[in-house]
C-alpha cells in the first residue's frame, strides 16, 4: 500500500469576519499558498476534494462552486459534506488505491455570512422527535456534558480549566481568532449557556480556509519541502439518534482512533505521540475525547493532568497548543484542517513560540458538532 504525505499547506488566518474576500477569493488565496508551499503548479494536481455543507454556504449544491478557485476545472473533484479530516481520509484512499499521486483537500468557513447559524444546526436534528421542542440545538451539548460529568466524575471547574488553557494557548498563535488571558475562574463565572455549560466554554465561529496538498510516497520524495507523513487515518459514526446514542462516551472517537492507531502501529498513544490537537468545540469535549483516544485511561485522569499542567505546552502531553477550537475558533468543516495545519507546523519545526520540543508524531481529531456523533482521527509524523 502506497504511503502518503502532506507536502503543502496553505491557509488564511481564522478570523471572526473576512469581508474583504468572497469565499472564492479566500479559497484562491489559500490554494495559492498551498501550491507555493508544495512547490507545485495547480496543473499538476490530479484530484481535488472539498469538505463543505450546503446550508453552511447558503447554496443548494455547493459542489458547483468549488473548482475554479482551486485550479480544478475539468479535473476530478468532489465534495464531501464532512469535516476536513474526512477529506484527508478520502485523499489517502485515492492515493493508496493507486488512482492518484497528487490530491488537494480544501475546507473553509464563511460562518460570518450565516445570519441564522443555530437554525441551520437545528435543521440537522430529527424533525419528528426533537425539532418540535423548539430549542436552541446546543442544548444537546448541555445534556451530554451533564451526563459526562455524572459518569466520569470530572468537575465543572476542571472543564473550565480546559477553556482557560486553550484560550491562553491561542496567545502564541497568530492564526487564532480568540486568544485571551483567561482564568478558570473567569470561565466558571461566565453565565450558563446550557447548564452545566458556561458561555465561555463554547467555541465561537470563525471564517477561514485551509488547503492541503497530499502526495504519494514517490511524489512526496520529490517534493520541495519537508513532507509530513500520514501514518494513520480513521473515521467513524456512533448512533445518530439522541434516543439511542451513548450519552457519556465518545464512541465515534474511540472507533476512529483505533483504526488510525492500528494503521500507524501505535499501541501507547500518550508515549508515542508528542502533540495532540483534539476537538474542544465545548470545553468538556477535550477531556471526553482524550479518554476516547486512550491518551488518558479516564477522563478524570485527563482532567487531573490538565489541572497539573500536563497538557500545557512544555508538559508531557501537550493538547491544543494551537488554542484549539476555543482559541482558534470553530471554522465549521475546516476546523479539522486547522488542527492538521498546526501539526504540520509542529512536525516541520515551524511552530515558533509554541513549538513542542522533539515533536515527531502528532494526532489531530475532529468531531462534527451537535447533533452528530461523527468524527475522524489523523496521525502524522515527521519521518
Amino acid at each position: 500500500m502506497a504511503r502518503s504525505a502532506i507536502i503543502g499547506l496553505g491557509f488564511t488566518p481564522a478570523r471572526p469576519t473576512s469581508a474583504h474576500q468572497s469565499f472564492k477569493e479566500m479559497m484562491f488565496e489559500a490554494a495559492q499558498r498551498a501550491y507555493a508551499d508544495a512547490g507545485i503548479e495547480a496543473a499538476e494536481v490530479q484530484s481535488f476534494v472539498t469538505c463543505a455543507e450546503d446550508l453552511n454556504e447558503g447554496l443548494s449544491i455547493f459542489d458547483e462552486y468549488t473548482p475554479d478557485q482551486l485550479g480544478a476545472a475539468l479535473k476530478p473533484m468532489h465534495t464531501l459534506p464532512q469535516d476536513g479530516l474526512h477529506g484527508i481520509a478520502d485523499a489517502v484512499m485515492e492515493i493508496r488505491s493507486g488512482l492518484m499521486e497528487l490530491v488537494v483537500v480544501e475546507a473553509h468557513s464563511k460562518a460570518s455570512n450565516i445570519l441564522t447559524l443555530d437554525w441551520i444546526v437545528d435543521y440537522a436534528t430529527d424533525p419528528i422527535y426533537n425539532r418540535p421542542l423548539n430549542l436552541n440545538p446546543h442544548y444537546i451539548a448541555g445534556l451530554e456534558m451533564n451526563r459526562f460529568l455524572h459518569v466520569s466524575g470530572v468537575t465543572a471547574a476542571q472543564c473550565a480549566a480546559v477553556a482557560a488553557k486553550n484560550r491562553r494557548n491561542a496567545l502564541r498563535n497568530p492564526t487564532a481568532a480568540y486568544a485571551a488571558s483567561l482564568t478558570s475562574e473567569q470561565v466558571l463565572n461566565s453565565p450558563y449557556a446550557f447548564y452545566p455549560l458556561h458561555e465561555k466554554e463554547l467555541a465561537q465561529p470563525v471564517d477561514g480556509c485551509v488547503v492541503l496538498v497530499l502526495a504519494s510516497e514517490a511524489r512526496a520524495q520529490r517534493a520541495k519541502g519537508q513532507p509530513v507523513w500520514v501514518r494513520g487515518v480513521g473515521w467513524a459514526n456512533g448512533a445518530f439518534s439522541l434516543e439511542a446514542r451513548d450519552w457519556a462516551q465518545a464512541d465515534y472517537c474511540r472507533l476512529a482512533a483505533d483504526i488510525a492507531y492500528k494503521q500507524a502501529g501505535i499501541t501507547a498513544p500518550a508515549r508515542e505521540i508528542q502533540v495532540f490537537e483534539v476537538d474542544d468545540t465545548y470545553a468538556y469535549k477535550e477531556l471526553q475525547h482524550l479518554e476516547a483516544l486512550r491518551v488518558f485511561a479516564t477522563a478524570k485522569k485527563a482532567a487531573r493532568a490538565t489541572a497539573q499542567g500536563a497538557t500545557e505546552l512544555g508538559g508531557p502531553t501537550p493538547v491544543n497548543v494551537s488554542g484549539g477550537a476555543l482559541g482558534v475558533g470553530n471554522a465549521l468543516e475546516a476546523t479539522g484542517l486547522y488542527r492538521v495545519a498546526e501539526l504540520v507546523w509542529q512536525l516541520r519545526g515551524q511552530a515558533g513560540p509554541r513549538q513542542v520540543k522533539g515533536a515527531k508524531v502528532g494526532l489531530a481529531q475532529s468531531w462534527r458538532g451537535v447533533p452528530t456523533t461523527s468524527g475522524a482521527v489523523v496521525i502524522l509524523s515527521a519521518d
Binding site: L115, E243, A244
Partner: protein, 151 residues
Amino acid sequence: MKPTTNDTLRTWRDNIPVTALYTAGLGGTIFLQALKERGQLVGTRCPTCQRTYLPAQQFCERCFAELTEQVRVKSKGEVVSFTQAHYDRDDNRLPAPITVAAVRLDGADTVLIHYLLRTPKPRIGARVRVLLKPKAKRTGSILDIAGFVPA
C-alpha cells in the same frame, strides 16, 4: 495607492426559501398513533440485540433486522441527564431557562428527550413520569407529551 475601504465592501443578503413537511415514517406512525389514540408509549424490540427502541423503529441500527415486535413501555422512568437552555434559536437569552431531560423509561433501552416540568432542582437519577396532554388536544406529535414531571 487606493486602499480597500469599508465603503467598498459589500454583502449580498438573501435566504433559502424552503418549507418542509415530514412524514413520521413506518416506525413513527406506530409510536405516534399509540400516543395519540391510546396515550401509550410504544417501542419496538430487536430480539437479536435484545434492545427495545423507543420511539418504535422500523429496523435495528445495530443488526439491520426488521423490527416487528411491538413493546409497550412504562410511562415512568429515570433522568439520565438534563440541561437548562438559556438561549433560543435566534441566540437571544431567554427570560427563564427551559429545562430539558433525557429520560430512560422503564422497559426501554433508549431515552426520550423532552421538557422537564415542575422540577426546580433537577437531578440525574430522579424518577419522573410522562405527562400527556388530554386526548382531545393530542394530534399525533411528540408534543402530545407535555413533558416529564416528578413521579
